[in-house]
Symmetry: D2
Subunit: 313 residues, 4 copies
């Protein structure tokens, strides 16, 4: 089989990329993300058509945030777009005249890493995306595992603190409230407010107030040894590692692949996560330990993974 | 393929059963459980030999508590027997002259239910054993999933309360400290001590003291409407259901099968667990819900499952 | 000594009342609450002057939300009015020509109940105000205890859940996030969303949606036995009672007086709080138990208490 | 008034000391602690008689672990001695012919520090004893506050983790399970087991195993910079400081005095506690902060305090 197209739906633009069997992106076509749900359907079609021009395309894979049904056809619920039981596969197929597969975007990214990135060579691997929130995907026995109804791998919403922080999902204490880019910023702001004398570098990078601290400031300040920034990463790692230990108890994978914007910091964030994982791993002395490694494809993982899942049919 | 033998290692006796392809136990042979690790090896062999007499046996499956390696040969660690990196497969094969498969006992029970019990017809199912502790097994895509290193499905040791109750595993806040037979008894004792006037039936069943309350008393008293006993089951269900909701976020199975002694109480315990599961399920209105059903094989699930896993090779 | 004036600063109106030595309000004068901090100072003065007309007034007591310093003169911080180190005593004294005492409003209400309400006859009593948030006051040895710096008795902000819900104070897990009118509504909304079939009465009282549920709906529905409403009160009581048990460990008062809007429901809310308090009280069998009683003065407690504190000088 | 005797009841010996009005111990008489409850009564009497020989003694104060009633006469419940509603005052008065006051031992120590140690000059001060467990005493308005029924200031048993660690009191999540000498050792053992490579100094001080680690080893290793030991103190401080912040919200004292064996480490433990306290203090920028200071009387505080309380009558 030859070329397929993968689609990534971002908050500001929609990207469609032509991908070959080796995971290489031959060409990308992007369009702005429209404000309406129906507009996005048209924009996806336009991006696919634009990217595919001049190529022999065999199928299209779309990565979408939210719940996708087990037929990989319908978006049951999307958090940021008003899609409720949206028949996305049918709509796009009618418009572009190609077979379409819809996939949860974090699943698609996990598959991308498994096939062409940090997951190569592993049969059982868990991918965690530490972005604004926390998502991921499950590979067991060399297959993406989507659950019976298509909505597995919602890592961000396991409850790590009973009666804990409110989550956008309506529940409380979800993991992504404690281990994500948003959590990192909250840690930094709380600490900078409590002890500004330990956050001088950090505060100087923003507008001087705790509220003005953003994620990039925390990273930059941590690299300079700012105590509050370093401690904020440590707190993030405490929760991330403890959650990985739970996932090791459940899935026992050979590796955890950590992607998303937070992982761009590399060992600044991965080393404390590894330590925390080790600290909380049950029966650590009696079992082989999963590796905790950085993702390799960056922001391209979802597009490449979606294209490859379309190829697999 | 014809007959295989399954072995169940209990605290007081070791049972070996001859099982046919339909999961029927044709004959069982039991021996007392010896006190030493090496004695247990001999006792398993004796039970297998005794059960197999007069039958054409093709293989033996042994369900053992603890970590079993990915080759299903070595017990890495057992909680109640002093086995540390114990080559159980080799030792038993030498003694009984048959191919042997070693499996975690909760995995074996899960497989038994999947093949011949409540899990029939499901491709993706999670089995939870609520006994003294909490164990279980994972079936995804019609296969038992053991993880890369053989130690997956340690459900009882995911952390549900940070800095929570000490667990026998050395960690804190493990699920089995909140959802298990032992937890049920603790709930009942605490409540009976605090409000004995609400535990009259319950206290009368034991020796009259909170410390004298045992699991069977809680069940019997709950059936009579004893407020403390009913509330203890509700507390157990609160934690069990919340944990199932987490597992639904991760695995999205079509069903949860609840086995173990606690499940013998049927809907007395299952109904509150279902309610609690429903209460905590993330995105409940946008997704199909897994069923929560009672196990069907009772205490035979492990033996039958181990025998069947041996047959599968 | 004769008459004093107490002032209550509400969100919509400011009330000044002339109070005699027996705690009786002889006359009340109210003015609308202006939007600005300085406007409120003028409005307080106007209300005091209006109320005092024709009376021989000896002093004025003002109940203000927030931190009041140990000299009872300066509002260090107010949550809803932009007062930061506001010299309220001086400003009002200049305007009304009478001695002024500034007091935290929950402290004033506690004193009102102690002197003329449910606290009469007790030497050591803790008052808890379950309103939108949770406040209170401490009477030990027949004196209001304000702490060394004036900011004691901030009951609502003790941490009952590590890493718990965000609070308006900037911290997490504060008691008032779990035991207050606002918490009650949150409980009801969460439960109505998860299990609408158990909230039929409750949903019918609002606009039919979970978001439309308000506090008065929960009370009304609970009186009709609506399962979700009843369970929401039980959850509130679980947290309220557990917190009272902590306060009993610390203060060992002879009584807890429960005031605020939530307490208007009387035994509907007090009985479950009593049960929960009893459930969590440490060493319950070895100690006399504090009573948990309803406040008696309703919304007048703060005004009457402030007036009486001014009389005490 | 002249000389009084204070009594300290330890696990191995009972000490009676003659104390003058300045808090100076003129003479001490000790006897071994007998195994039976009645034997301890006799031993106390013997110690008092022995110490008093040749002195003009006016009264005796006894510090006893457990609940003491509001008349300071009866031990309602003692955790380590089988005293249940024990009329200790009467029994000792009959034997020694002097007026006797019974006081909770942590209250007595708090009073000792207030009168002659780190609490001098403060009107409102909270003393915390970080020993094997966690106890303390409350001074408000220059008086020891015992509560209505005599059992106030049970700091160690406020609930800081819902559903947390089991406590000897029968409840769960008590502060002393997280902030005490026993907790410190648990932290060190858990960490040394998980990451022995970070505990080389610590493990070398004991018998080489995690279980062999004792409190003195943690202190010694922390002084040498052993990572696990330092981290264990940090964890202790995290919980101690957060609890102090709660107490500041409630009592708003001018100082916290930290005593008990853990405080012998001085700034090694006090500095992290101060940081943690500052981190968690509500409204920190709008209020004066209580000081966190070390106790000054060491193990003598209880005896001296009991003697002084007897003098006060």
């Amino acid at each position: 089989m030859g070329l397929t197209i993968g689609v990534d739906i971002g908050g500001t633009k929609i990207a469609a990329g032509v991908v070959d069997e080796s995971g290489k992106i031959l060409e990308t076509h992007t369009v702005p993300t429209p404000p309406t749900a129906e507009g996005i359907v048209e924009a996806i079609s336009a991006a696919v058509t634009g990217a595919g021009k001049g190529h022999q395309i065999e199928a299209v894979g779309i990565g979408a945030a939210g719940y996708v049904d087990d037929k990989r056809a319908t978006v049951l619920f999307a958090p940021n777009i008003h899609w409720r039981h949206e028949p996305l596969k049918d709509k796009i197929e009618q418009r572009v005249g190609l077979p379409v597969v819809v996939e949860n975007d974090a699943n698609a990214a996990a598959w991308g890493e498994y096939r062409f990135g940090a997951g190569q060579g592993h049969e059982d691997v868990i991918c965690i995306t530490l972005g604004t929130g926390l998502g991921g995907g499950i590979i067991i026995g060399n297959k993406l595992r989507r659950g019976r109804f298509g909505v597995a791998a919602e890592f961000g919403h396991i409850r790590v603190v009973p009666d804990g922080l409110l989550c956008g999902c309506g529940s409380q204490g979800c993991w992504e409230q404690y281990a994500s880019g948003r959590a990192l910023v909250r840690y930094a702001r709380q600490r900078a407010l409590a002890t500004p004398e330990n956050a001088e570098v950090l505060l100087a990078l923003g507008d001087g107030t705790a509220e003005g601290i953003e994620g990039k400031h925390v990273s930059a300040a941590a690299r300079e040894g700012d105590p509050v920034a370093v401690d904020s990463f440590r707190e993030l790692a405490r929760w991330a590692g403890a959650g990985l230990a739970d996932l090791a108890s459940l899935f026992d994978p050979s590796a955890f692949i950590i992607g998303g914007g937070v992982s761009d910091e590399g060992d600044l964030v991965l080393d404390p996560i590894r330590k925390s994982f080790r600290r909380w791993l049950i029966g650590a002395q009696w079992r082989p330990h999963a590796k905790v490694v950085a993702a390799q494809l960056g922001g391209k993982a979802g597009l490449v993974g979606a294209a490859d899942l379309a190829r697999q049919g």
